[in-house]
């Protein structure tokens, strides 16, 4: 293993945030530098200094954030950093990426249009009823209030949940009426029917 101080940067070895051996620059160079250069090259011409400047700017900002760990926790520092870009945040919405961690794909849009993944939802949301749900009151990025943004996360014993109904021909009317009534009954629990199933199969003619 060379150099030996690589071990200092292993994520699993790190303890409290104040662990002195952690080098943000080393982590950045190893994991992110090349990725960032590849992504920004699409926006620059050869000989342009934009990729290098862009990379250095992110690295400097990251070092600044890491230095704040001596005084505060990760989540607070992160939220403070987001507040600085809040005025422009509503104009930028990603199509498939989680806007917050930028490491995961997400299909959960907030009411402001920003996407959030389950991991970030657990970090920024609160769990009112039990640990497998989350409520988000405001978008951490743009600050837009989220009305009743309640998400059920799947508990470990949950398998795939399938709702299957036989509803061919005129039975379709009965099946759909049943679903409408069921949905209405569930409203008081803030528990929409669609959140309870991964797949719904209803054969309906026409």
């Amino acid at each position: 293993v060379s150099p030996a101080n690589n071990l200092e940067n292993c994520a699993f070895q790190r303890r409290a945030n104040s662990k002195p051996g952690f080098q943000a620059d080393r982590v950045f160079e190893e994991l992110y530098e090349q990725s960032i250069l590849r992504a920004i090259k699409e926006y620059s011409v050869p000989q342009d200094e934009l990729p290098t400047k862009f990379c250095r700017a992110i690295q400097d900002e990251l070092s600044r954030l890491v230095s704040e760990l001596r005084m505060d926790d990760t989540k607070s520092i992160y939220l403070r950093a987001l507040r600085r870009v809040r005025s422009n945040a509503l104009m930028v919405r990603t199509a498939t990426s989680c806007t917050f961690c930028m490491h995961e794909f997400s299909e959960r849009p907030l009411q402001c249009g920003h996407l959030i993944c389950d991991t970030c939802l657990q970090i920024f949301g609160t769990s009112p009823a039990h640990s497998y749900s989350a409520v988000l009151e405001i978008c951490p990025l743009c600050g837009v209030k989220q009305h009743c943004y309640f998400v059920s996360l799947l508990p470990p014993t949950t398998g795939y949940r399938l709702l299957s109904m036989d509803a061919g021909d005129t039975q379709a009317v009965a099946a759909l009426t049943f679903l409408v009534n069921l949905e209405t009954s569930l409203q008081q629990f803030r528990c929409p029917l669609w959140t309870q199933f991964d797949l719904v199969c209803i054969p309906i003619e026409g």
Binding site: L31, I58, I123
Partner: protein, 207 residues
């Protein structure tokens, strides 16, 4: 789905244990309108080996009675008569060897939890085990090539492999080049900062 379903399952592990199940049942029998003709059967699914299943039923029954103790006697009797708590299912093994193995596992886990709380090593034993297996495989198969501790010690999804794609998506969405400095740089560095801390450690203050 009551009263559409006459059998209601409560998964004790998912709900936070028998205490929480008792809470929910007590809440349901006191809050919601009951239909006299339907008496739902409540099935509580508990995890792990059990010598005497009726102990759990009795414990749950006592917990519910305790939770309803403030209510008038007639209401309590009436409420408890509206459901039947007769069946318990058990997941897992029930033989002596399996019980001993699970007990050892629980003891190791609680000791590990305590150490984790005291020392705050953020990654668990399984992660370290998986990491070391990767390391041994790598050195056994190709000892000469380079091995990145940083990359390999991170969970899948947080190794930065998809990061170029996500960053490109973000760059495509900004309306002007100037936004690269005012928006993309701060948000990208903040996301890298966030992702380099494992779940659950975000609220740990250095103080």
């Amino acid at each position: 789905l009551y009263p559409l379903s006459e059998i209601i399952y409560y998964f004790a592990t998912d709900l936070g244990g028998l205490g929480m199940v008792a809470n929910i049942i007590a809440h349901q029998v006191t809050k919601y309108r009951r239909i006299e003709t339907i008496k739902p059967q409540l099935v509580v699914v508990v995890d792990g080996p059990v010598e005497d299943p009726s102990k759990f039923s009795r414990l749950l029954d006592s917990l519910i009675s305790e939770l309803l103790s403030d209510a008038p006697e007639n209401f309590r009797t009436e409420a408890k008569a509206t459901f039947s708590l007769s069946t318990m299912l058990y997941l897992g093994h029930s033989n002596r060897t399996a019980r001993a193995a699970i007990l050892r596992e629980h003891m190791a886990a609680s000791e590990h939890q305590r150490n984790r709380h005291v020392n705050r090593p953020y990654f668990n034993f399984q992660h370290t085990e998986a990491f070391l297996s990767t390391l041994i495989t790598k050195f056994a198969e190709s000892p000469e090539s380079e091995f990145s501790f940083l990359r390999s010690s991170r969970p899948i999804g947080y190794r930065g492999m998809e990061f170029p794609f996500h960053l490109t998506q973000l760059l495509r969405r900004v309306p002007a080049v100037s936004w690269i400095w005012s928006f993309v740089v701060p948000i990208t560095s903040a996301s890298i900062f966030l992702c380099n801390y494992p779940p659950g450690s975000h609220c740990e203050s250095s103080k």
